[in-house]
Symmetry: C2
Amino acid sequence: MQPKPAAILPLATAYYSYLYRKELVSNILPFWQNHSKDEVNGGFFTCLDRAGNVYDTDKFMWLQGREVWCFSYMYRHVEQKEEWLDMALHGARFMQQHGRDEQGNWYFSTTADGKPLVQPYNIFSDCFATMAFAALDKINPNDEWKKIAVDTFENIIRRRNNWKGHYSKAYPGTRPLKNFSLPMILCNLSLELEHILGSDRVNEFVPEVIHEVMEVFYQPEHGLILENVNPDGSFNDSFEGRLLNPGHAIESTWFIMDLAKRMNDPVLIDKAVTILLNTLEYGWDKEYEGIFYFMDIKGAPPQQLEWDQKLWWVHVEALVALAKAYALTGNERCAAWFEKVHDYTWKHFRDDEYGEWFGYLNRRGEVLLSLKGGKWKGCFHIPRALYQVAATFEAI
Amino acid sequence: MQPKPAAILPLATAYYSYLYRKELVSNILPFWQNHSKDEVNGGFFTCLDRAGNVYDTDKFMWLQGREVWCFSYMYRHVEQKEEWLDMALHGARFMQQHGRDEQGNWYFSTTADGKPLVQPYNIFSDCFATMAFAALDKINPNDEWKKIAVDTFENIIRRRNNWKGHYSKAYPGTRPLKNFSLPMILCNLSLELEHILGSDRVNEFVPEVIHEVMEVFYQPEHGLILENVNPDGSFNDSFEGRLLNPGHAIESTWFIMDLAKRMNDPVLIDKAVTILLNTLEYGWDKEYEGIFYFMDIKGAPPQQLEWDQKLWWVHVEALVALAKAYALTGNERCAAWFEKVHDYTWKHFRDDEYGEWFGYLNRRGEVLLSLKGGKWKGCFHIPRALYQVAATFEAI
């Protein structure tokens, strides 16, 4: 790495955009190209140890989708490298052949050779399949890709109010909470599908999603977004209702900033930036640095034993949100926070020795699991964030 | 605490039995009596903060069952205190009134006033309900308690091969693993119900359970017990198949020692003690002390982000197993391990300031969550272990 120039301007955006783009194309994408391709069965291995060796061969459909999306997106936005198109097609063919049940729902996982292992209990597999095929269709237009993307999207919309189906453990009616994850992802998903769904459909959809995130889940008295609320958006004093997931809230602020920019709505931009800064202040570990994984808004002990760990996606999503917030507003607090989160993230998560980045640190910022990929970490948050930060700063 | 006498004998059993019994009756049981009783709705609060204040009012049925069992058991074995019988009846009445669905399956949780919240997806609620009503019936014989215990036990036996029912996420047939938890608990459960089921039924049941634990889940080439195996007991190279849960394996060794003692089978005792010592050697954290929560037998990264944490139940169950192993065999390695685990446990888990013990420590043995009770920690492992260690050493 080059030494960072002294900050004469509020933020050395040219330096950061150079650094982030270089990391994307020289470190992250080659790591997944070199290590994740299953040449025998198709699809991707995502359980890669520190050096990139495969330690488990199960295929998690949502990570297959994320990697297809990633290589498609980078082909379109970074460089039309034939090998990136090949990677996207390699994953898409495996998904097309092995990924769905007879109703078109996406399995959570399959064996290496594509036998279904875990049922489609989790609608996020479907969300990332939609994103994958929509992105692939943009670089390799094909009616089959379009059809998979649209069918899956309509399936998500149909299932959205009861997506857990018979896997739901909640007794009906006693505590009907709304969860933040699906509105947040739909917010991003609708934009990804605009070339297929058409702008009218997207424009009809966007205000509803913005309302959910910024009115229903946002709690004005705290200035924070909760993970679960009563159907009317009010606070529910239970483990689920008290739960804060700072990374989730932070990630959603940049989705909202993207929508607000599209709608040319400076008030919405300001509100998203305020929530971003509130969440960082609240979620930052004042003792050991880094952003906590889970918190309880009343300070009660959270259920999640991993609450104090520092996760890669939380930190890289914060960098994207801060870059966008700074680019849109010039707010110097965003610049200062960007530098603080950047320094922590590059120091603790980046693996100088074997490439790619660590995913899981303990509270002190020490490596907890040395894996580069697993059941939940794949080729997605880091490359997307590196691209988003670089592109955002280049456009200033 | 009194200073520990110098170890002239291999183990100062009189000192330990005094210490453990005193801790049980002067610290642990009073804490739950004083803080967990819901005087308004009946039943027990189990979400208690460091000082015993209620931070959440949901009622987790398996923890209700465990607390009823505990006060019933202590009334029978420690002292016939009227207030302990009252505690047991207080919890049993709430369970009887609010705990089951129409098929007699036990809900996972209810609201404070007994409205069902989480469906009976988890058969361990049923296991602890059976134990609770069987134990209560021993001190307060009543056909209603017997009937609940027997009906629930028969329900468990009926459901045992497919207890997750429609909540199971596994695709049928692809990877049909057997899980260790239910055989292990049944091993203990059958003995608790002997006065109701009759010795013939128990004697018919016991060899099957011993076979499962000691032949199917035990892996001779490693000398360890795995959490999940192929139906024929062979190793399955997957996240689930590679998983070790040292606390679980250790706890099972004292259930087996109890059965082996009953059957007067010294070979089985020796095998259980060997597995206990193997598991401690393997699961002990050589860097920071304490026993790991989860490990991967091939050294791959476990899925469980909490893998390196130190949990109360793991350590107190190890103390019970070591006390029993020492009492049965006089093995000096058991004495040495008992002292080592005792010193770690009493130093790190016990809360000298507010009473009761902490449940969750990080790898370094620092308190991770200061709660005394929650969704998974209640009035069970610590009092049971304190009693078992004291009684075991007193009987030498």
